[in-house]
Amino acid sequence: MPRIRLNPLSRIHGYMSIEVEINHGTVTDAWSSGILYRGFESILKGRSPHDAVYLTQRICGICSSAHAIAAALTLENAFKIDVPHNGKVIRNLILGADLIQNHLRHLYLLAIPDYISAPKNAPGGIRSELDLRLPKALETRIQENYLKALETSSLAHQAVAAFGGKAPHLQSIVAGGVTEHVLTDRIVRFQALLGKLAKFVNDSLLPDLEDIARYYGDYYQIGKGYGNFLSYGMFPLDSDEQKKHFAAGLLVDGEAQEIFDTEKISLDIRHAWYQGKEGPQKPLAQASSPAPGKEEAYSWIKAPRYANKAFEGGPLARMWLTGIYKNGISVMDRLMARAIETREIAIQLNNWLHELIPDQPTINWLEQLPLSAEGVGLTEAMRGPLAHWVRIENRRIDAYRIITPSAWNLSPRDSAGQRGPLEEALVGTPVANANNPVEVGRVVRSFDPCISCAVHVLDKKNAWRVI
């Protein structure tokens, strides 16, 4: 059976390659490889806990605010401190605006190019155009919106910067709250930018995607995968830390499951380029070192599992769990859910903006850090569930672990041979031309892959030098 490998798979964050086995025009098996490695967790070791908020952001250039918030939650959990009302609201505003930024950029810059021909001046636009179905007039309109999105998406980052200092890699989130104050000019600026973004989402993004969905209706049947959804919940309410605007939850095969338990999360390195304890391991107990030549391994991404099952995260999972969009599970549903979530958040942000109270504190700064502590912080990032763990010894980071959404979505097989969610979703994808499998690219990009996020792991001080 012929196997083909797509490498580089452009229009994703970081470097990724996909190998698929094609039999009679259908994908029968798939392997997803993250081929970018930096080793962030070992860089964090020995540093001041506060540094984690800023260094973990450098993992990812498009979802930096999610890492900042996850790291801050982790440290607050370890320090046992609370965040003032304003601080919580500002964090929700920052994450919401960054989510709009991410979704606009993913849909227009990375995903939609799979369905239309390249406009003039598009970067690297010379390609054989295959399976393009949109009539000329529609295509021209979407091409124009692609170019507009290059400009509009930066407005979302301006909104992030209004309360975040700068974006990407913001500079106002700290353990204990937010350093930026609640100033009326910021509120007004944020609201004005939000208005422009909401207009673009309603007038361009949603109609464009609906048109694409009309001509690519078969993609409602492609790329289903396991149907296992996981969400940690995002945008906490101030009144109750456990309650969130987007609730946490689990779906297995489309059925709602028991309450989520952090203890059931494990990591598996059987098919990843690492040496260490094999089999499912608890995140903080998992120690491994890179082993690029390891047999049977094919990715830098470790395999996270919940109760030994592979789970998918992201806008579709969140929209299912909140009940806002429950059409199906497929390539097109992932794109639609992303667009609908963008609209939903643009509306919600406007409401949350009114919760801010000027001249009230935004930060609860802890002067003396505890000598030793452990903490965990869970939030939803743009692409799904994001968790950070920390162990502090001697007021310094002793161990730091991160499981990103892309690690969930793009994970390789585990010890039991169970495929990752993307690999599973690829199985059954029809491929018309094995020399240029555009269909595979569409399935992969519906997950909004981010290899920069997915791979960042290392422990066991310098052990790799010996290998």
Partner: protein
Amino acid sequence: MLTRRRFLQFCLHSAASVSLAQLLQPELAAALRLLPGGKPPVIWLEGTSCTGDTISLDNSADPSLRIVLEEIIDLRFSPLLMWAQDQEALDILFATMETHRDQFILVVEGGIPMDMPEAVIIGEQNGVRLNAKQLITDAAEAARVVVAVGNCAAFGGPSKGNPNPTGTKGVWQVVQKKPVINVPGCPAHPDWMVGTLVHTILYGLPRIDHYRRPTMFFGQLIHDICPRRFHFYNGKFAQSPGMAGCLLKVGCKGPITHADCSTRKFNDGVNWCINANNPCIGCAAPDFPDGGTSPFFSLSPDVNIPPGIKTTAMTVAKGVGAATALGIGAHFTASLLTGRLGESLTASEELPVTPQTCEQALGAIKEDLLAENELITRLEEGQRKLRRDVRQLRQANLPLKRRSILSLLNPLRFLRKKNKL
């Protein structure tokens, strides 16, 4: 015609008065259109990157990325933005390297993993994995000029953070045969990237400093042009992040970081780090996130002693360390308050001289730390005395003698004198 001089003026003052766009419409556009051969081809490669600089480029407000693509550059290859994928993407890459040899501009984002080439694979051809180390070096040799954007490409950045798991290096430490311009920052400001590209296209290589950074953007210390500088003069220091005042005591790295963030600001001038009441973490500094920048909220930075020992400047001074322990960090803390900062670091031409022996290094650190401690004590003592004196004067209801009070009111006067401010 748009002269180089005028362009530089725009770049230097754009933050304060006009934006790059006002210059672009219509002068720059016209100048670029007149270029023989049209827009220059650009290849954008990523090493150990987070794609943050591509995203930052898309944040470019004036000109927007759309204008950049339409009017300024012909972006042929970019892992994040390009439409083609797989073999077709690599075909574009190699065709451009071949047909535009010594003409195209190579932009590199992310560092080069020297000790672990398998860490970054850009693509695959005929079953061979093309690693970033090899491909970036090859592309650099074929390019006209290399622009390293972001701190990782320029100096190794967060990917190089101690203990540097992948052995990452900045592009200029690897590429020898072609000119490399460093545009650091985490991420680099879009104006810095676009400004450097435009200067290279229209006028050739911009003037650069010892770290190969364009002086039009990195010629000054953040601290020197900081809008909170007067708080520093007046001795009004924030006690924790989130407070007004000079953020030096909560770890601001503005005094060791060359960049014009203070006046340019980020995201179309909406905000910037210090304006958000958070100290500068030195993300454009050569050794970020080490070399005196970490811990970000501490005035006394860590010193890393290979292999794998982390300590503070204080401990080193007690005699535990070795000569290699001397980073900018130890120097920074001390020289800032002794006033040496102004003389040694503001002028980028005069870099601090590295001590030759272990004894010299330790001696220097010890000396600096003692001086620093003494100064802090004196500073606080002075402030206490001042408050007491003012209180006493008020209580006695004596007429305030203008001259003596003024001299008392500035507890940092000795700093000022030494800094020649």
